[in-house]
C-alpha cells in the first residue's frame, strides 16, 4: 500500500480549522491504517508557503503523495468527497462501511 503525504493548510486555530483537523484525523485513522503522514500548515504563520502552493481557500487539503496531486477544500465534513479526492473509492464504503480498504 502507498504511503500518503497529506498537507492541510489552515488560517489560524479557528473552529473551522479545528473541525478540518479532527475530520481529517478520523478519516485517516479509519481509511489509511496509519500509512500516512499529515502536515498542518498555518498560512497566517507561513504565508509564503501558501503563495508557493497557490492556496486560495482554507482549509485546503493537498494530497501530495501518492500521485496525482489533488486538492480538497473545506472543513472536510463531507466524508465522501474527501475519499473521492484521496482516490479512495467511495463505493467501497457504501458496500462495507466498516472496512477501510483503499483498493484502487
Amino acid at each position: 500500500m502507498n504511503k500518503y503525504l497529506l498537507k492541510l493548510y489552515i488560517t489560524g486555530r479557528t473552529p473551522r480549522s479545528e473541525r478540518a483537523i479532527s475530520n481529517l484525523r478520523h478519516i485517516c485513522e479509519e481509511e489509511l491504517n496509519n500509512q500516512y503522514e499529515m502536515l498542518i500548515i498555518d498560512v497566517l504563520e507561513r504565508p509564503q508557503l501558501a503563495e508557493e502552493e497557490k492556496i486560495l481557500a482554507t482549509p485546503t487539503l493537498i494530497k501530495q503523495l501518492p500521485p496525482p496531486l489533488r486538492r480538497i477544500i473545506g472543513d472536510l465534513s463531507d466524508k465522501e468527497k474527501v475519499l473521492l479526492g484521496l482516490d479512495l473509492m467511495p463505493f467501497s464504503i457504501t458496500q462495507n462501511p466498516s472496512s477501510g480498504d483503499p483498493t484502487r
Partner: protein
C-alpha cells in the same frame, strides 16, 4: 480638494483620469471597475499600479484571478510596461490566484478565503505596497462554487484592505454595456466607488469610454469620456467636458498672411484663437493655409497637418504661389505632417497631434482639413475631437487655422460647421458665386470673437502671387444661400431712401 470633502483621493497617474475624477480615486478605499469583455479592465488595473511605480514611487500588488502572471508580463511588455523589471526591483508583486492546471479542487464542507487574504497581506507587507489591483472578480466565482461564501469573503478582503491603508482597484465583468453594474452582484460589497468601462460598437466603429458612476462622499465629473489605448502610455482618457474655459486671452495679433484679410479681421488673428475657414473644394482654403504658414516671422514655427493632400502636392502647390516650403522645412521653421485620416481612430489622431505639437512647439498650427477627419468617426466622436483639439491649441496659446470643406459648390454649410462653429473664435467663409455666367470667388468674415470686423462680402482672385481680395459685392444679395439675386440700381436707391424717410 481639502475644502471639497473629507474623502481624500490619490492621483492615479492615468492620463486624464485624475481630471475626470477631480483628483484621483478615493484613498484607502476599494473602487470597482466594471466592464464587458474587451473593455480594457486589465489594462486599467495594470496601469494603476504602473503609474504608481513610475510617477509616485508607490509599490503595488497585483492579484490575478484570471490571467497567469506570465501572460500579464508578456502582454503588457508589448504595451510598454516592463512588469518583470519592477518585480526584480521589488516594486511589483503578483499574488497568483489564477486557475491552476491541476483538476478543480473537491469541495467538502465550508471554507473561507483566509489563505488568499493572508497571501495578500503578506505581499503588501513584503514590498510595502500602497496600491493593489484585483483582476477580476468574476474569475474567482468560476473557480469556487459557493457563491455566497465567495461574496462574503470578498467583502472581508475589501474591509481588510481598508485597514491596511491601501487603495484598491477591483475589476468585474458585466454582460451588457448598459445594464447591471456587474455579474454576481459584486456591487454589493464594493459599492462605494464604481467606474464603468465601455467598448460600444457604433456605426461600425468601436468607441471606448469611461464613466465614473459614483464616488461615495466625493465629487467627480459626470458622464462618459472617450479614451484610447496606445503603446507605451496605455490608457489615455480624453477629458472633454472637463476642459474649462479658462484659457488666457491676449490682444496680441498675428498676420493671416494677407494684408487685406488682416484689415477685414480688424488687424489680424488673435494669438490664442482658432479660426475656421470653410469653403467648397477649390475655393482657396489650402492657399489660405499656405499663406498663413508662410507669413510667420523668423522667430515663429509652424506646424501643418494635412489630411487631404500628399507632401509633394502641397509643396508643389505652395511653389505655385511663390512659397518654398522645402527651404522653410530645412530651416526648421515649418513642419508638415501628412497622413491619411483612415490610418487610425480619431482619438489616436488627437493624441498624436497633441504629441507632435508638444514636441515641435509651434506658434501656428493648421489642420487641412477637419472635414477629412470626420470620415473616420461618428458625429459624437468628431465633436469631442474638435473640442479636444481647440482647447488644447488655446491652452498652448497658439493660433490654429482649421479648414472645412462644404459639400455643395454654391452656398450651404457642412456638418462640420454645425458641430464646430461655436467652438472656434473666428469663421471665414469662402464661397463661389455665379455672376452672369461666370464663377467668382467671394470671402466674408462671418465671426471674429472679441474684435470688430468687416461685414462685407468681398470678391477675391487667385493668381501666381496668391490671394487678392477685391471690392465688396454690390447689387447682389443671397450669395451665401447659394441663390444670388441681382438687384437693379433703382432698387438699391429705393431701399436706401426707404430708410432715409423713417
Amino acid at each position: 480638494m481639502k475644502n471639497d470633502s473629507y474623502v481624500e483621493k490619490i492621483p492615479t497617474g492615468i492620463p486624464g483620469f485624475d481630471h475626470i475624477s477631480k483628483g484621483g480615486i478615493p484613498k484607502n478605499r476599494t473602487t470597482l471597475v466594471s466592464g464587458t469583455s474587451g473593455s480594457a479592465k486589465t489594462v486599467l488595473a495594470v496601469q494603476f499600479l504602473a503609474a504608481g511605480i513610475k510617477k509616485f514611487q508607490e509599490n503595488g500588488v497585483f492579484v490575478t484571478f484570471e490571467e497567469s502572471p506570465q501572460d500579464i508580463r508578456k502582454n503588457f511588455l508589448s504595451l510598454g510596461f516592463d512588469v518583470e523589471a519592477w518585480e526584480k526591483e521589488g516594486k511589483w508583486l503578483f499574488v497568483d490566484a489564477s486557475p491552476q492546471p491541476v483538476d478543480a479542487p473537491y469541495e467538502s464542507g465550508s471554507y473561507d478565503l483566509g489563505a488568499l487574504l493572508a497571501r495578500i497581506e503578506y505581499a503588501i507587507k513584503k514590498i510595502n505596497a500602497t496600491r493593489i489591483s484585483i483582476d477580476s472578480l468574476g474569475a474567482i466565482f468560476n473557480q469556487l462554487s459557493e457563491r455566497a461564501t465567495v461574496r462574503r469573503e470578498l467583502y472581508r478582503i475589501a474591509s481588510a484592505l481598508k485597514k491596511m491603508g491601501v487603495t484598491a482597484l477591483m475589476t468585474a465583468e458585466r454582460i451588457h454595456e448598459y445594464g447591471n453594474i456587474g455579474r454576481y452582484d459584486v456591487e454589493e460589497f464594493v459599492a462605494d466607488n464604481v467606474v464603468i468601462l465601455r467598448n460600444v460598437l457604433e456605426e461600425e466603429k468601436r468607441r471606448r469610454t469611461i464613466e465614473i458612476l459614483k464616488f461615495r462622499g466625493t465629487d467627480h465629473q459626470k458622464g462618459e469620456f472617450p479614451f484610447t489605448i496606445i503603446p507605451n502610455d496605455g490608457i489615455i482618457i480624453i477629458p472633454l467636458s472637463a476642459i474649462e474655459l479658462k484659457q488666457r486671452s491676449t490682444d496680441f495679433r498675428v498676420t493671416s498672411g494677407n494684408e487685406e484679410l488682416d484689415k477685414m479681421c480688424g488687424g489680424g488673428f488673435f494669438r490664442d484663437s482658432v479660426i475656421l475657414v470653410s469653403g467648397a473644394t477649390g475655393t482657396g482654403k489650402t492657399l489660405m493655409v499656405t499663406e498663413f504658414m508662410a507669413s510667420a516671422n523668423k522667430s515663429e514655427r509652424c506646424l501643418l497637418f494635412a489630411f487631404e493632400e500628399s507632401r509633394e502636392q502641397l509643396f508643389r502647390n505652395a511653389r505655385g504661389w511663390g512659397v518654398d516650403f522645402e527651404a522653410l522645412e530645412k530651416a526648421e521653421r515649418i513642419k508638415v505632417v501628412c497622413e491619411y485620416p483612415e490610418v487610425k481612430g480619431l482619438e489616436d489622431h488627437l493624441i498624436s497631434i497633441k504629441e507632435i505639437i508638444s514636441e515641435f512647439k509651434p506658434t501656428r498650427v493648421a489642420i487641412d482639413s477637419l472635414s477629412a477627419l470626420e470620415r473616420v468617426s461618428t458625429a459624437k466622436g468628431f465633436r469631442e475631437f474638435v473640442i479636444g483639439i481647440t482647447s488644447f491649441i488655446k491652452h498652448q496659446e497658439l493660433v490654429g487655422l482649421f479648414t472645412s470643406t462644404t459639400p455643395s459648390l454654391m452656398g450651404g454649410t457642412s456638418v462640420t460647421e454645425t458641430h464646430i462653429s461655436t467652438l472656434t473664435d473666428s469663421i471665414i467663409l469662402l464661397r463661389y458665386v455665379e455672376v452672369y455666367g461666370e464663377m467668382k470667388r467671394c470671402l466674408t468674415v462671418l465671426k471674429m470673437r472679441g474684435s470688430m470686423h468687416d461685414k462685407d462680402i468681398r470678391e477675391f482672385k487667385i493668381d501666381s502671387l496668391g490671394m487678392h481680395i477685391g471690392k465688396p459685392f454690390r447689387n447682389i444679395s443671397g450669395i451665401l444661400t447659394g441663390n444670388p439675386v441681382f438687384l437693379q440700381p433703382y432698387e438699391l436707391e429705393r431701399l436706401k431712401n426707404m430708410f432715409k424717410e423713417e
